[in-house]
Structure formats: C-alpha cells, structure tokens
Subunit: 73 residues, 6 copies
C-alpha cells in the first residue's frame, strides 16, 4: 500500500515521462519491499518555477542564470 509523492518543477514533463516515473516508482517498491503494485499510488505534483525555492532563490531565476551562462561564453 505505498504512497509515493514526486514533486518536480513544471518544466515540460511529458505524459510519457510521467508514466515512466509511475512505473519506475511502483517497480522500486515491489523490488525493495515486495509491495503489491495494485495498491501502490504514485502522485506527481508539478510546481511552477516561481513557487520553488532552493538556495534562497526561485528556480525561475536559477534557470535564467543557467541560460545566460551558456550564451555568454
């Protein structure tokens, strides 16, 4: 009966990638703890980059800096 909640930034995750996360997390619980896939829940939350902070800044700003870094040279 595990419940797995995966939170990532909303940056174009495709339905196919979401399915891979669901399959992978379910298989992980089966492999490690012998849990039944039939009652394994996986819920993916996509969070706006303005709403996710790390290292005291939001991910929106972090992404802009990463882009600039690459284009500066």
């Amino acid at each position: 009966m595990p419940y797995v909640n995966i939170r990532v930034t909303r940056e174009g995750v495709t339905p196919e990638q979401k399915l891979q996360l669901i399959e992978g997390a379910t298989d992980l619980l089966t492999r490690v703890l012998n849990k039944d896939p039939a009652t394994t829940f996986v819920i993916i939350d996509e969070v706006e980059t303005d709403n996710w902070g790390v290292a005291r800044e939001n991910v929106t700003t972090m992404r802009q800096r990463q882009v600039e870094k690459k284009t500066v040279r």
Copy 2:
C-alpha cells in the same frame, strides 16, 4: 486544530461536492475527536489523471479502458 488533506483526481468535482467534502471532514473530526470546527482545515487537491498512478498505470489509461469495456459488445 486538525488538518485534513484530500487528494482526488481532477475529474469534474463541483464546488458543491467540494463543500460537502469540507463539511463532512470537519464533522468527522468533531464527532470522533471533539475537535473545534473553527480551527479545522480541509484542503482538497485535484490531480490531473496523467499525474496519478495506481497499479503501475496512470488514471487516464485506466479510465479509457473502463469506457471501452462498457461500449464493447
């Protein structure tokens, strides 16, 4: 002071139904644990069917199969 978080798939839950969930969950905490409704929070999260997995597939796929089953024959 209870906090109740209800997570369901986003499949057309109406404002009236949400209110019934809020009332019902609040009443449950009052009835069983004598909690004060004034400080009982109920938060409903609606999750896209692509983002909810159970039994190693997403709910989008599960719903399609359920529809097909009914229309076959």
Copy 3:
C-alpha cells in the same frame, strides 16, 4: 482512488477512534464522489504538541493555559 491525510496532535487518540476516522473518511468519499473504498487510502499523522503551532504558539502551551483557566478560581 482518493488519498486522505488527517493530521492531528498526538493526544491519546485510541485505535478505535482512528478506525472511526478511517471509516468516516472512506464513507465520505464514497457518498460525495462515488469513489471505490477498495482504493481509498486514509493516513493519520499524529504530531507532538511541541511541533504544532497555531496563533504563534505551540499546542503544548495552549493546553497548559486551557488547564489553568479551568483550575483557577
């Protein structure tokens, strides 16, 4: 497939009361949204009163004040 998470302070909730919360929350989702009990999860988190804050104080302090109020006189 709903997931219900009930968070309350750890103040002597009995196994019987927990079961009533599980039954009541499951029935609520069935009644309002016609959800299947077989895949309805209810998880109860009991939180130490030192770890729960409301109105800028912890529940430990709040409970002490409530007790004193009753015994004063």
Copy 4:
C-alpha cells in the same frame, strides 16, 4: 536539508511576494537551526478558495461575507 511547504489560498500572490516567502523561510532555518541555504527547499502551493475549508465553509464564501460586511454599514 530542510523542506518547507507553504500552502496559501490562490488570491493574487505576486512573484515578488513568493520570493520574500522563499528568502524568509530559508533565513529562518539558517538562523534557528544553522541549516545550509544551498540545500533548503521552499515550495509554495496556491490552493483555489473553493478547495480550502475552514470552520466548515470554503474560503470563497468567507471572502464574500467579509466583503459584504464592509459594504453593508
């Protein structure tokens, strides 16, 4: 490595206010527990007012009553 999840109603929180929440929560963990900002996550969830219940009603209704109160006189 703290994880801070702030849930508020979706009522026009600006990117600048979100950043202040991220900075403030990160600083709080650094000040009180000496946590490293580099691995402090702050995630803000904005919840529709129909989906947030307190005192057995939703916030949508509560806000309407607050507006009426002011305009009644």
Copy 5:
C-alpha cells in the same frame, strides 16, 4: 531539485532497504528527467499500521486476517 516522499507502513523496513529506496528513487529522477542527484531529496515516512486505512479498515486488521488465512486449514 525533485522532492520524493515515500510513505509505507512501519513493518520492519531495514536501513539497507531504506537506502535502496533512496538510491532507486534518485536514479529514477535522473534517468527519466535528467535531474541532478545532488539536489534530489527522498524522504521516507513510516506509518503505524493502526494509522493507515485502506478499503475501510486499518492495516493492522488486514495483516491479522492475512495471517489467519495462512494458518487456517
């Protein structure tokens, strides 16, 4: 920067198994979404079987029935 929260019943999960869950979930996010392991959090919550309900009963009861089934004969 993903955050993964795995909730399972507290039924003797070993430190080695927990590590496998941490490694597996981190690898999953790297493989599917190319996320950086350095900022991937995995948090495992172990929940008492009295506090976890599914199918309108708690896991404590469910486990007892599963044991009885095997010993009957």
Copy 6:
C-alpha cells in the same frame, strides 16, 4: 489561513528552537501576505536520518563522513 509544514532531520531540535520556527514562520506570513496569525498553522516533522536521502545517500552516512573529516589529521 496558511499551512506551513517544516520538515527537518531529527537531530536534537529543542522545544525552544521549535517555538522559534513556529513564531518565525507565522510572522513571515503576516509580514509578506498579511495573513492572520490566529489561523496560521505551522507543523514541524522530524525525520530520522536513515529516512532522509539527499545526493543518493542517507543523512546518517553524510553525518558520519562529516565527523570523520573533522577528526582526521
């Protein structure tokens, strides 16, 4: 009506530090979003170091390496 959930590793956080987290988080929401402290919840979850993973290892192992680093020499 904000809900703030602070998750940290269980490493000797004192009741006084918890209170500072509660006060600080409540004040932050009041200052930035003008929220009412009376209905601001702050819940602190302390997580065992075996149960918290970052960078593909658990915090137990990370702490041991940090101690060894300091004592080497």
